[in-house]
């Protein structure tokens, strides 16, 4: 059986600065992987390569056996046509640090846009799904509110509902609690935990060590553009094998 996600020798440069120096990673259906590491270690960049928000110069990323973003024909590597890339992006859902809700649409409108325009659903079908998922994140009562009328935590939950309603094979979370006030962090983490329990496959870039410990089936520690160490959360957090990880864990708060 093919892995859900297969990353092979991923290289990414910004100009002359190499931020990913050969990352390999595979992930099975239903796994929840947290990616930790200090800022600049390449964890967010890796996540953004998976849905082609960043181009990458070397290596391959496949989801369900489909090569993402590039195709190699006759030895030449080419970017796939935009339409194809847009289609592939819908294989994954993404939640961002800054929520990035569309401010001119209601919570329902945000969730429905992709359903109507990408999934070609009718308005009624899309509305029903929006209701379902906004209910799941505890915001059914805010369904007709605009982002400007919601708290940060609520906005992030809508953003997660927007991504998940598209029925992605893999959810990508990019530091989704970093822009939130401390008292709002928990409501968002609860939503992600509930998704994990449903068996959603997730890649989570986070600074919340306690959360990573509790929710993940596996943890990846990124260090200077490479995977520094990976393993189950228990081993990683309690018995780090590398000096680097031990060092990193010492400087991060585990609460």
């Amino acid at each position: 059986m093919t892995n859900l996600l297969e990353i092979r020798d991923l290289h990414k440069r910004y100009g002359t600065v190499e931020v990913l120096k050969g990352v390999d990673c595979s992930m099975r259906q239903g796994e929840v992987i947290s990616i930790i590491g200090s800022s600049g270690s390449g964890k967010t960049t890796m996540l953004r390569c998976i849905n082609m928000l960043e181009e990458f110069q070397g290596g391959t990323i496949s989801i369900d056996g489909q090569e993402i973003g590039y195709e190699t024909a006759g030895g030449a590597r080419r970017r796939k046509p935009e339409r194809e890339i847009a289609r592939q992006r819908a294989l994954t859902g993404m939640a961002f640090q800054q929520f990035n809700l569309f401010p001119h649409m209601t919570a329902a409108g945000n969730v429905m846009l992709g359903l109507i325009k990408v999934k070609k659903m009718s308005r009624d079908q899309a509305r029903a799904l929006a209701e379902k998922w906004l209910d799941r994140v505890g915001l059914l009562s805010r369904i007709d509110h605009y982002p400007g009328q919601l708290s940060g935590g609520q906005q992030q939950r809508v953003a997660i509902a927007r991504a998940i309603a598209m029925n992605p094979k893999l959810m990508l979370f990019d530091e989704v609690t970093s822009a939130l006030d401390p008292e709002l962090v928990n409501e968002v983490l609860q939503v992600i935990k509930a998704l994990a329990e449903d068996g959603m496959s997730m890649l989570i870039v986070t600074h919340e060590m306690r959360f990573a410990y509790e929710v993940s089936s596996r943890v990846i520690f990124m260090n200077q553009g490479r995977i520094g160490e990976e393993g189950n959360p228990r081993e990683m957090f309690l018995k780090p094998k590398t000096e680097r990880l031990a060092e990193f864990l010492k400087t991060s708060t585990f609460n």
Binding site: R89, L101, F102, L113, Q149, A163, M166
Partner: protein
């Protein structure tokens, strides 16, 4: 104001009304054409390939750095020397539309660039293509952003329409001047013309406010 003015106004009502109509036509035509062209200019300034961007940037900078009156005169007198023979009305509207497009282009560029990158990324992340992203995410936000400044530009176009009197377009100002040369009531008729321009622009401004209110996003 004495009755003599009312009498003369009544006598001159037909040419003045016609002038007003011409002024409105000039304004409308140049605003519509200038806006349509300007949206493309703005899109090119943000999204076009570099060489096209530079070309369009040159166009807007050149147009915006040139007095409108010069544009009007050039459009009427210079174009005919290269074999493009436009009547004064067409030449004038062309000049104003070009002027308008460079301003609208800048407005559109500014509005588009003020939208955070995260909006495009979020749209991409749910699988929208670029045209879809533009139509449903960026466009509507840019429109709201640009509206107040666009209303200003529209009002400027109405004022700039008076410049067409120089090349003999029978718009409101030229008709007013003709009436004055007959009646010598310069104060009254200039005030009257000024009042009409004010009414038009006030209407545009109220309309802009109305649309702004209607499209405001609750927060």
């Amino acid at each position: 104001m004495d009755y003599a003015f009312i009498d003369q106004l009544w006598v001159a009502r037909i040419p003045l009304l016609k002038g007003l109509g011409v002024s409105i036509s000039i304004s409308l035509a140049s605003i519509v054409a200038g806006t349509v062209l300007g949206v493309f200019v703005g899109l090119a300034l943000v999204y076009a390939y570099r060489p096209v961007q530079w070309l369009v940037r040159g166009y807007t900078d050149f147009i915006r750095g040139t007095p409108v009156l010069v544009l009007v005169l050039a459009s009427y007198y210079v174009l005919s020397t290269v074999g493009i023979d436009l009547g004064p009305f067409q030449a004038g509207v062309l000049a104003l539309a070009v002027f308008c497009s460079s301003h609208v282009g800048e407005l559109v560029r500014g509005a588009l660039q003020s939208i955070p990158k995260g909006q495009t990324e979020a749209a991409k992340a749910i699988g929208l293509t670029f045209p879809q992203t533009f139509a449903y995410v960026l466009g509507p936000q840019a429109l709201r952003q640009a509206l107040p400044a666009w209303v200003n530009t529209a009002a400027e176009m109405v004022k700039a329409s008076t410049l067409l009197s120089i090349i003999g377009v029978g718009e409101l100002l030229l008709r007013t001047q003709e009436v004055i040369s007959r009646t010598f009531m310069s104060l009254e008729f200039y005030f009257f013309a000024g009042f009409l321009y004010f009414v038009i622009n006030y209407g545009i401004e109220r309309f802009g406010r109305y649309v702004e209110r209607k499209t405001a996003v609750p927060s």
